[in-house]
């Protein structure tokens, strides 16, 4: 067990800004510790050595010394100015808007964050953003002053009524991070808390294409509903238009004979598909040793039915080439190896990245 998981002493570094920030922070810490020790040692040494009745020599007392005072003035001044210059440079960088950035619109209200993406997807107390992409938040409050605070990114800025404020950052690590209100805003101030979900770019594209996880359009048909579930759970990340190392394509699978790892065969009837979704390890397709995550408990029976209907629809149109479960560019390609987390943690993240029910999964994954 990692002691720092249980008793963390520093917040995660999950943004471009975090490392530079921590560098200043710990530099000041070292300075502070040095000076604290210096003063404590000085006080203790003098107090003990010159305690009343000790034999220490007390001749030639020094009552004032311009030299010492000059040192006492100059050393803190120079150190302070150094820190000032360093931190100011960093701050100016923080306040600069990146040349190209994804804009997120934030409305703070008692006691909730409303966030809106460029394409109109809205979220409450949750923000999904892609990794390694500069984000600019344009923020305003509709009542009192709030403060948008994401500790893992080392960013904070007030959200003021009557005026737009801006804050930019770039997340560098997929995961789930606290998004807090740091300015006292009334009764439920401490519950004005949300989470930022940093997703890989492809996850994000899929998430966007799926219309987000909350405000998805109401599906007109079972197939459309199934498509939504497909996108929301990001099934297409592994089950692409063709067999890949990560998973077989599901196009044309409905009612087809499947060869399993133990050599037997099974017909991909609705029952088998349901079982493979909920408890996939029972019967695996040959060639795929690693099991996909179990969705038992994460999908309702209704959603499973809709998914099967969607898979069925892809099989029915198989004659006309591969169907397009989604159309976002890049969505059908596999996650690139530049994001190793995707391979190692995908099981958990796929179960959770876009969903609130399984936040613990994402937590454990880190």
């Amino acid at each position: 067990m990692n002691i720092f998981k249980v008793l963390p002493v520093a917040p995660e570094q999950a943004s471009e800004r975090a490392f530079g920030y921590d560098l200043i922070f710990w530099t000041i810490t070292i300075l502070a510790v040095v000076f604290t020790i210096l003063v404590f040692a000085l006080v203790l040494a003098l107090a003990v050595r010159y305690r009343r009745g000790s034999s220490a020599d007390r001749r030639y007392p020094v009552y004032h010394s311009n030299g010492i005072e000059a040192v006492l003035t100059l050393v803190p001044l120079v150190l302070g100015l150094g820190i000032f210059a360093w931190s100011s440079a960093d701050f100016v960088k923080f306040r600069q808007r990146p040349k190209e950035s994804m804009e997120i619109f934030v409305i703070g209200k008692q006691w909730m964050w409303h966030l809106q993406h460029m394409n109109g997807i809205r979220e409450n107390n949750e923000l999904h953003i892609p990794v390694d992409t500069p984000i600019t938040m344009t923020m305003i409050s509709q009542d009192v002053i709030h403060a948008m605070y994401i500790p893992a990114f080392r960013v904070q800025y007030h959200v003021v009524p009557g005026r737009y404020t801006e804050m930019s950052f770039t997340a560098t690590k997929p995961g789930r991070y606290k998004m807090l209100c740091a300015m006292h805003c009334g009764t439920q101030h401490s519950e004005m808390v949300g989470f930022v979900y940093v997703m890989s770019k492809s996850d994000y594209a899929r998430w966007i294409e799926g219309g987000g996880n909350r405000y998805e359009p109401r599906a007109a048909t079972m197939v459309a509903a199934g498509e939504q579930v497909w996108n929301r759970k990001a099934c297409g990340n592994c089950h692409a238009g063709m067999d890949t190392v990560r998973g077989p394509t599901l196009n044309g699978i409905f009612n087809a004979q499947r060869r399993l790892t133990d050599g037997s065969t099974a017909k991909a009837a609705p029952d088998y598909l349901r079982e493979s979704i909920l408890l996939p390890w029972l019967r695996l397709t040959k060639g795929y040793e690693t099991t996909m995550p179990a969705y038992k408990g994460q999908l309702t029976e209704e959603e499973v039915l809709q998914l099967i209907e969607y898979i069925k629809s892809n099989s029915n149109t198989s004659t006309s080439g591969s169907p397009q479960p989604y159309s976002a560019p890049g969505a059908r390609t596999l996650p690139t190896p530049t994001h190793p987390e995707n391979a190692t943690n995908r099981a958990n993240r796929y179960g959770s990245a876009g969903v609130t029910q399984s936040e613990e999964g994402a937590m454990n994954a880190r």
Partner: protein
């Protein structure tokens, strides 16, 4: 009391009177300076676009009046250096409050895009022509869900 060597300075009445009339004159002057462009548009109409100038004139006259009141009526001119220090110090410290203007002047420079002075936020200006740019508008959602935009 008046005969003791520490007697307080007694300001003579003519000095007080002169100060009073000077103050009255300055008051008339400040009214005239403010209203002249409207009373005599032919002669002073040119001042209207230069409102900072007119402001400065009004303030300068006000300061002149204040100096008269403080030094003569309040007797600061004749008093000890200590009282002078406090009288002047109070006004100097009052000016310190105006450090806040730095914020208000430089706020429209933000957000800092490489320190170029692009006015894009700051307090809402009274007129768009003041140099403020229109506020960013929230883009309308695609409306997949059938809800209206912005109806949070």
């Amino acid at each position: 009391m008046a005969s003791t060597p520490h007697a307080h300075h007694v300001t003579p009445i003519p000095v007080l009177l002169r100060t009073f009339f000077l103050l009255l004159g300055l008051m008339l002057l400040t009214i005239f300076a403010a209203q002249a462009p409207y009373w005599f548009p032919g002669m002073f109409g040119w001042m209207i676009p230069y409102w900072p100038l007119t402001n400065a004139i009004a303030l300068a006259i006000a300061i002149a009046k204040a100096v008269l009141v403080i030094s003569i009526f309040m007797g600061v001119k004749y008093t000890t250096n200590l009282v002078k220090l406090y009288a002047i110090g109070g006004f100097v410290w009052f000016l310190l409050l105006y450090v806040m203007l730095v914020d208000y002047v430089s706020r429209p420079w933000e957000p800092v895009r490489g320190w170029e002075a692009v006015p894009s936020s700051g307090l809402p200006r009274s007129k768009e022509s003041d140099g403020g740019v229109p506020y960013p508008q929230f883009p309308a959602p695609k409306g997949k869900d059938g809800h209206e935009a912005g109806s949070h």
